[in-house]
Point group: C2
């Protein structure tokens, strides 16, 4: 990221005058049961058929680790990003074999390496349940009652569906409360690693090049899903395009954008700008330096912290970009104008007038959010106890309590339909390094004390008269939760086992839980539920005025985006849409082959065999955001032409606003993936299997 | 710094039961007119003679850039740390000649490179002016009146002395208000660089090894002071010891510890723990990542940011260590106990009883400090406008206003005695890089907005409807203050020139100045003056109970520390006091010669000539802190045996507490300095000149 670039966001404001979508924009993360057929027809003369979209939907998969992917063969092969598979690459690596750094290729199925706690979800059906969820909330209910009733109804729908179909069933909230949809997923939990290139080419240019363009990253990774110990038979998968993406052509992205905030009101934006984003930015900066310090202790420590450090650095850039966007006056003014216009229309229309109070209610909820957000983040989101071992302890403690309740009164993540995914994580064999956990826990406790104050009663109870460092050491060293068998034993013993456990982390989780649950409840009732009800009213108004052809904010559920392969203009210069393999070698030379601009040995060895003119990475106007990593890029024929892995720096504000002026999604070109697998990694067999 | 080390501070608490000094401790940063003669006699059988101490005092120099040094020849040679000279090394470097990185040696006097704005001060006399300062404050005066009267009296004393002697004359506040002393300094402003080794050996081990031990750093640098264009003739200078420091021997450190907080009350400690330290830590973390990002843009950017980045990383470690100390319950408990005992003694003693209100007054001042500290830091200390160009603008604007007032009513830094030093800085030719200034200013403006809020009237006036980035770009690009001649012209034009200037940074400084002056005044009157009066009372009580043989908290004025060359025990293992040159090569090997553990080429080339058993760095129990960097270490005979450059990680709490259990000062051994100059750098002539 270039820190000294100014004025990225200056040209955008005029575009944002209305919530309605211009047919000239490639904006939108569309749900599969409400695709932008009219826009695609009018702008691109493309007809979306049910067969086309059903095939693409079912070829798409979601990674529970937070990314997207696609089936690319009938034999269960799944393509995603290296940085989506990186958590797993880190987990299976050891001081002796660092697959994360050195790459991996299984020449036979027997060599494929099981991923410990990876779960892939394939969306198989969507059903609108808005009415059922909303009728559970009776007029005159308090926010507390409404929250309980709504949660219960959602739980019942999920459980009924799960019992009926055996499929993972999630009720998804869309339009921040405007719609509720039942998504059913087929789960794949036997996932094995087939192929990954070296870190040095997957993330060529590293943190300095992250969110930059031009780029030269082979950010790919291939898994295979198994069922009953055999490669799963996949009906819907993507064919590999012969030519790959072509400049100017219409492309589609099918993936799982994590979250956007475009529908938010001005008051909610101000909350982000004034509190949430700066708060998290400051946390990320602290984490980044902490992990750098830990990494500097030695190569093995650097290996242990690597994946987390890169993820933190990535987030820091995202938050920095968001902060810049929110501090850009023209953007906030455009937002204010849009909101003003919509509110004026609502107030004028006798049929909509009753919805006019929604904005004020949201503004009031932000006041409550400001008071409770940090406490919720520290206690309920666990930022004050930053260790995977604490998360495990928390899950065990809560599971014991929740299991005593009827299924649909439990916290959603402990209900039957979510249980298999929860247990996959809870009993994971992923390595846990005590010294690393201690460093993170110690620092987060120190921060907790600084924020809450030494005399806070919970803080005193947590520290037990010790310093944060000494306490963290005692907690980590004294716990046996590192061992998955201990977790299983505690879980199977239920409430009684938890109540009588002297494991220091279990005791800590028990100590913190009442306060954590309380702040969660307060926040859900006084903020989230109020927002749901109010945004539902705003959505109603929007649908009435602009029609239902609107896409909802992203929710880490499957969406279709579209756009063109297209360069852009930056600082007066044209940035072409595509780079080439030859360009990667030039980029290395330009940086004197210094880290992180050092191409792997394998690339230099095989350089003579490569077609240097092969397109490497490319940009498109498709509207994406974090969570889309690993999404397939397909052409009109539904063939795979690329693999999303990043956005450019101008796209960092797309949490709030989209414009196709400079905002670009960055993909690996399908041709370079094939070229590298064949000529560099000797994965001819894999290339042959793909698309079959 | 090892982040996973726990319990450094656990053994210390029993030592801290009283303010009185045990003769068994090497504690203390003693003023030259109140040296610990009795302790030295009883513990070390050493007699401090006036000739001995006068010679050492006058051989010591202070660097205005924030460090210490000593004269080492009659021909004006001055020894200090590489990291004290680094600001100057950075300033004289260019993209073509990076002396900071590659080192420098002037074979002839004609080759010596002038330092642009370096000023060296040699303390020549001390005079007690407590009574005159205190009698200016009449009984019944409000804190505001007292502050004004005290400042005026101090100003009059300084100006009288300056006019009488021509020497820089500073009234120093000791014991946080218990004493006022007039220090007179001879100024040296023609300072030239003679010798510096490569950065790679001066800071071998870099940030990871910083504050660690064992160490292998040749953190040295030699300047020469000139008068009238010729090498200054120096009467008092240190002879170079033949053998250098010897394990177990008594040594002395004469230097300028910057500040300590040992006398502070519990309430003042809590203010540090709860607000000041975490606030600055968070700022340092933000700066660190910002500078890393800027540095990653290219080698030239890395060169520009290097000195500041290392300084920020160093401070971050210091603050991190302080935070850990303040969060260690046993330390705070010891502090509470000490204070409780002293207060009890004061209340019991009819002669002291009238002093008993001091602690409560300090506690009340902390409440005011909490409310105003951040605002003061952002506006008055300029953290909200982080650019040297803004500092220049601020100085010009204030100078124009202050010059209209009688001399002793001005802000102290604008009075006649301080003026030459101020102008040296203001008109410095040191290079200023626009892009770098823009990056820093942009980020600090963004942070200012986040802290004050978008709707703060001053923030709105500062930003003028622009984003922090766009505003910073306009300010830096639009200003002509980069040119020292422009500054001279503006300064000579006085108030009229400033009032009619349209330079955007001058206009910004004018805009901010009323609010900055206001918060400074509030803080001085409601916090600093109240503290001065109250600490004066506490000092009175301390002197009455424990005698006047107490050292005051550090104030960046000359102090004498003492101790033994002595190893320590860490994690059950003995750490010997000395390392060797051979150890440096082993340390490099242990880290696979990776940065920052890569010895310079020159060391490998000359390895065969070196005596590998030469002592390299050593530790001692001398009580030092930041500001002592570059202090000479001398033996009983006043010969130079070493050069202070760091403290170990256990010394990081010495801002608050000293213990010689593990707390160690780290020095370069005199023998390695000589060995390297002679055999590696071919500086035989320099070695011959030293001590002559």
């Amino acid at each position: 990221m270039k820190l000294n670039r100014v004025g990225h966001f200056l040209l955008i404001s005029f575009i944002l005058c209305s919530f309605s979508l211009s047919i000239y924009s490639d904006e939108g993360m569309w749900v599969y049961n409400n695709l932008p057929k009219k826009i695609l027809k009018e702008k691109y003369q493309f007809d979306v058929t049910d067969a086309w979209s059903d095939h693409l939907m079912k070829s798409s998969v979601r990674f529970n680790s937070g990314g997207s992917g696609s089936f690319i063969s009938s034999t269960g092969l799944v393509l995603t990003n290296h940085h989506v598979g990186s958590g797993m690459l880190q987990k299976i690596s050891t001081p002796e074999h660092d697959y994360y750094k050195d790459g991996f290729y299984a020449r036979t199925q027997a060599d494929e390496r099981p991923a410990m706690d990876l779960e892939l979800n394939q969306l198989v059906s969507i059903e609108d349940v808005t009415e059922r969820v909303n009728t559970a909330v009776k007029p005159g209910m308090t926010a507390e009652q409404a929250n309980t009733a709504r949660k219960k109804a959602m739980g019942q729908i999920e459980t009924e569906s799960f019992e009926k179909t055996g499929l993972r069933s999630d009720v998804i909230t869309l339009y921040n409360g405007g719609q509720y949809q039942l998504y059913r997923f087929k789960r794949y939990t036997d996932v094995r690693l087939v192929f990954a290139p070296e870190f040095g080419i997957a993330f060529f240019g590293g943190d300095p090049d992250n969110f930059e363009y031009p780029r030269y990253d082979l950010d790919m990774c291939i898994f295979r899903v198994y069922e009953d110990g055999k490669p799963a038979k996949i009906e819907h998968y993507l064919k590999w395009s012969e030519k790959g993406a072509i400049d100017g052509e219409l492309i589609f992205v099918s993936g799982h954008p994590g979250s956007t905030s475009r529908m938010l009101t001005v008051a909610a934006f101000e909350f982000l700008r004034d509190l949430r984003i700066p708060y998290h930015l400051s946390y990320l900066l602290r984490q980044e330096v902490l992990l750098q310090q830990y990494s500097s202790l030695g190569e093995e420590q650097a290996r242990r912290a690597k994946n987390l450090l890169f993820s933190i650095q990535n987030s820091r850039k995202v938050y920095d970009g968001r902060m810049k966007g929110l501090q850009e006056p023209s953007l906030m003014q455009a937002k204010q104008k849009t909101e003003y216009q919509l509110r004026a229309m609502v107030e004028k229309d006798p049929n909509l007038k009753e919805l006019a109070g929604a904005w004020q209610k949201i503004a009031e909820a932000q006041v409550t959010a400001r008071k409770n957000y940090i406490k919720r983040t520290l206690l309920e989101a666990g930022q004050g106890f930053n260790s995977v071992l604490f998360s495990i302890a928390r899950t065990l403690v809560r599971m014991a309590d929740e299991d005593l309740k009827p299924n649909d009164e439990r916290l959603p993540e402990y209900r039957a339909p979510a249980r298999p995914s929860l247990e996959l994580q809870l009993y994971s064999d992923a390595p846990i390094y005590e010294d690393f956990e201690e460093v993170k826990l110690s620092d987060s406790l120190s921060r907790l004390v600084s924020i809450f104050g030494e005399n806070h009663s919970l803080v005193r109870a947590v520290l037990q008269g010790q310093s944060p460092q000494a306490r963290a050491a005692a907690l980590i060293k004294g716990s046996t939760l590192k061992n998955p068998d201990v977790r299983r034993l505690l879980a199977s013993g239920g409430k009684k086992a938890i109540d009588s456990s002297y494991d220091p982390l279990i005791m800590l989780a028990k100590l913190v839980d009442p306060a954590a649950r309380k702040i969660r409840k307060t926040y859900e009732e006084k903020v989230t539920e109020v927002e749901r009800q109010s945004y539902a009213q705003i959505a109603k108004a929007l649908f009435a005025i602009h029609g239902t052809n609107q896409y909802p904010d992203a929710t880490f559920t499957l969406r279709l985006s579209f756009g063109q392969v297209k360069g852009y203009t930056e600082d007066g210069k044209h940035v072409p849409s595509m780079t080439t393999i030859g360009g990667a070698f030039e980029h290395e030379l330009k940086h004197s082959a210094k880290e992180p601009w050092k191409l792997p040995e394998s690339w230099h060895l095989k350089k003579k065999d490569l077609d240097l003119s092969t397109p490497f990475d490319f940009v498109s106007t498709a509207d994406i955001i974090g969570g889309n990593s690993g999404s397939p890029v397909v052409n009109r024929d539904g063939e795979l032409v690329g693999l999303i892995f990043d956005g450019n720096i101008q796209s960092l504000i797309s949490d709030y606003f989209y414009t196709d002026e400079q905002n670009r999604a960055i993909s690996v070109h399908s041709s370079t993936m094939r070229e590298a697998m064949q000529k560099i990694y000797g994965a001819e067999a894999l290339v042959t299997e793909i698309g079959k």
